[in-house]
């Protein structure tokens, strides 16, 4: 892990809501090496999107960010606007959930794709067009020449998402952030886009930060997975181990809540409702919903600490582990 692609240290974020500061993120620590795929999983409002927005500094006005984000050896947070634009144009690109909303509806696909190449990278129109056609082919889009002249409304959602991926790739970034990039697509298209992202990552040695609320999807393409709850990472593990041997009761609960084809039993849900960081109790934010809680859990907010190959913020890891073992025994694979 020498010279990581991305290192987030003690990231905290507060947003101004109705004049008062509202904490959103706290103690987020994350390291990604080059070419690694990292999955960020969590319920809505757990701070996944906000974490990646900090990386691109795409934050609403009045946001207070603390900690450090180092991308490619350069610290992002103290950067000037000019430097930031350069980083955005070259090192990091983002794919959004809803391609239809994130592509200007009144301009052609070709215009959308070549704009950054022409105006930021300084290519002339012909070269930019050639490059874009190559990239469109690499994201499995047929007849790219015709696509260039079409408007976003003429394309299907899956096609449009691939156009968005193409636009991200055009900048040849080292880090690609996919913010719920497949959530709005139907299942077959989703599989296609996920497979595409996986292939591109391997071919181009891209760092992929994949945000989703689907644990299994994350496991399918990510080397490691981090689970977020109430604005902090409560567990980070290799994806495969995370599923077999979760280290945090929240992960355990999420895994238990998966529908299973084998047992058509009633779906388990995670008891209680998710809290945001602002509403979290002083101790562990998961305490109100946790079956393993002990008095020590209420005392102070536990910081994530290394455990085995991963990290967990749970003080009762031992208990959680013994449960997950029994769970393993119960469900024959």
């Amino acid at each position: 892990m020498s010279d990581p692609l991305l290192a987030i240290r003690d990231l905290s974020l507060g947003l101004r809501v109705d004049g008062a500061m509202r904490p959103i993120l706290e103690n987020v620590n994350l390291t990604m090496s080059r070419g690694e795929a990292f999955g960020l999983v969590g319920e809505s409002g757990s701070g996944k999107s906000m974490t990646v927005r900090c990386i691109t500094r795409l934050l609403p006005p009045g946001a207070a960010v603390g900690g450090e984000i180092v991308l490619n050896g350069r610290s992002i947070l103290p950067m000037s606007r000019r430097e930031l634009r350069q980083v955005r144009a070259q090192s990091v690109q983002m794919i959004f959930q809803d391609p239809r909303a994130h592509i200007n509806p009144v301009r052609t696909v070709g215009d959308f794709l070549t704009e950054a190449l022409r105006s930021v990278q300084g290519f002339n129109a012909k070269v930019a067009e050639k490059r874009v056609i190559e990239i469109l082919e690499s994201v499995w889009i047929s007849d790219p020449k015709r696509r260039l002249k079409q408007y976003p409304h003429e394309l299907s959602g899956g096609l449009l998402q691939r156009v968005m991926i193409a636009s991200a790739l055009a900048a040849e970034p080292e880090l690609l952030i996919a913010d719920e990039a497949t959530t709005s697509l139907d299942v077959t298209t989703q599989a296609e886009v996920v497979a595409l992202l996986d292939e591109l990552r391997r071919e181009r040695k891209l760092g992929l930060l994949f945000i989703t609320h689907d644990l299994e999807l994350a496991a399918a393409i990510c080397d490691r997975t981090g689970v977020m709850y109430a604005g902090s990472l409560v567990e980070v593990q290799r994806s495969a181990t995370l599923h077999e041997r979760p280290l945090h009761p929240y992960t355990l609960a999420l895994l238990a809540a998966r529908p299973s084809l084998a047992q058509r039993a009633r779906l388990m849900t995670v008891a209680g409702s998710p809290v945001s960081l602002a509403e979290a109790p002083p101790g562990c934010p998961f305490v109100p919903r946790c079956a393993y809680q002990q008095p020590e859990c209420h005392a102070a907010r536990p910081r994530p600490r290394p455990f085995g190959e991963g990290e967990t913020a749970c003080l009762r890891v031992g208990d959680v582990l013994s449960t997950s073992r029994t769970l393993q025994d119960e469900v024959p694979s």
């Binding site: 691109t56 795409l58 006005p61 634009r85 350069q86 980083v87 955005r88 144009a89 070259q90 990091v92 690109q93 983002m94 959004f96 809803d98 909303a101 994130h102 592509i103 200007n104 509806p105 009144v106 301009r107 052609t108 070709g110 215009d111 070549t114 704009e115 950054a116 105006s119 930021v120 129109a125 012909k126 930019a128 067009e129 260039l148 002249k149 408007y151 968005m164 636009s167 900048a171």
Partner: protein, 295 residues
Amino acid sequence: MSEYAGGTWAPVGLYAGTLGRVARRLARHDPILMIAALVLVLVVLGVVLAPLLAPYHPNQIDLTATYQGPSTMHLFGTDALGRDIFSRVLYGGRAPLLGSALIVLIATGSGVVLATTAVWLGGGIDSFLSRAFDIGFAFPGLLLAILAVGVFGTGLVAPVCALAVAYTPYIARTTRSVALRERTKPYVEACSVQGLSGLAICLRHILPNVFPFVMVQATVSFGYAMIDLASLSFLGLGVQPPGSDWGLMVSEGQPAILAHHPEESLFAGLAIVLTVIAVVMVGERRGALLASEAR
């Protein structure tokens, strides 16, 4: 530029290109807009082609034929000096139409620039500019124009400049509200992630989306600017005699009304009313169409 790079101005093209299709559709759904547009086209053609259409020179005096009623010789009759009113109405449209066009052009240009700047930079600059728009909005344009005439003298230039300033906040406020909505749209965010500069995003992404709404506002403003210009001419602060101008003609024809020769005031006044109603109607209907499309 590559062949599809023209897409930058696609909405402009859309606005003009679909006009034929829109016209046919409107003829069925919105005959009023159709009539208004037709009137407008006729008026503009008449004024522009005045040298070809006018049977007489507008300043040709014929003291043997004063105060004549409408006839085949003089379609709208003659005025106190025996000048042909029809020719004078055709020529008299030049100053108001050109003046209003200039006012709207300048006001739209500066209004859009100011509003987009305010929206993009946000924060204190937005608050400051918005307050400035509000203050400008509250200040009567006509008063500003009279002030300008007082300082810089009569003619077309001073009122046009003053009214352009007065109409800027009117355009700016609408543009700001539409641009503000546009700025929060996700695609703007996606553009900044691509590393595009603020200027590029404003010019190439936000403005084309705001453009149709600005056009509506500009069209309606054109009508109001015409009324203001006509009012100034009526007061004798605009175009000076012997030049012809609709507002001035209404005023010059006044004494004749008492002598039962209302032709000059009547036809000049009709020209103003007809043009303004047609312009405002086109603007309003187009706006309603946009609003229903946005829904």
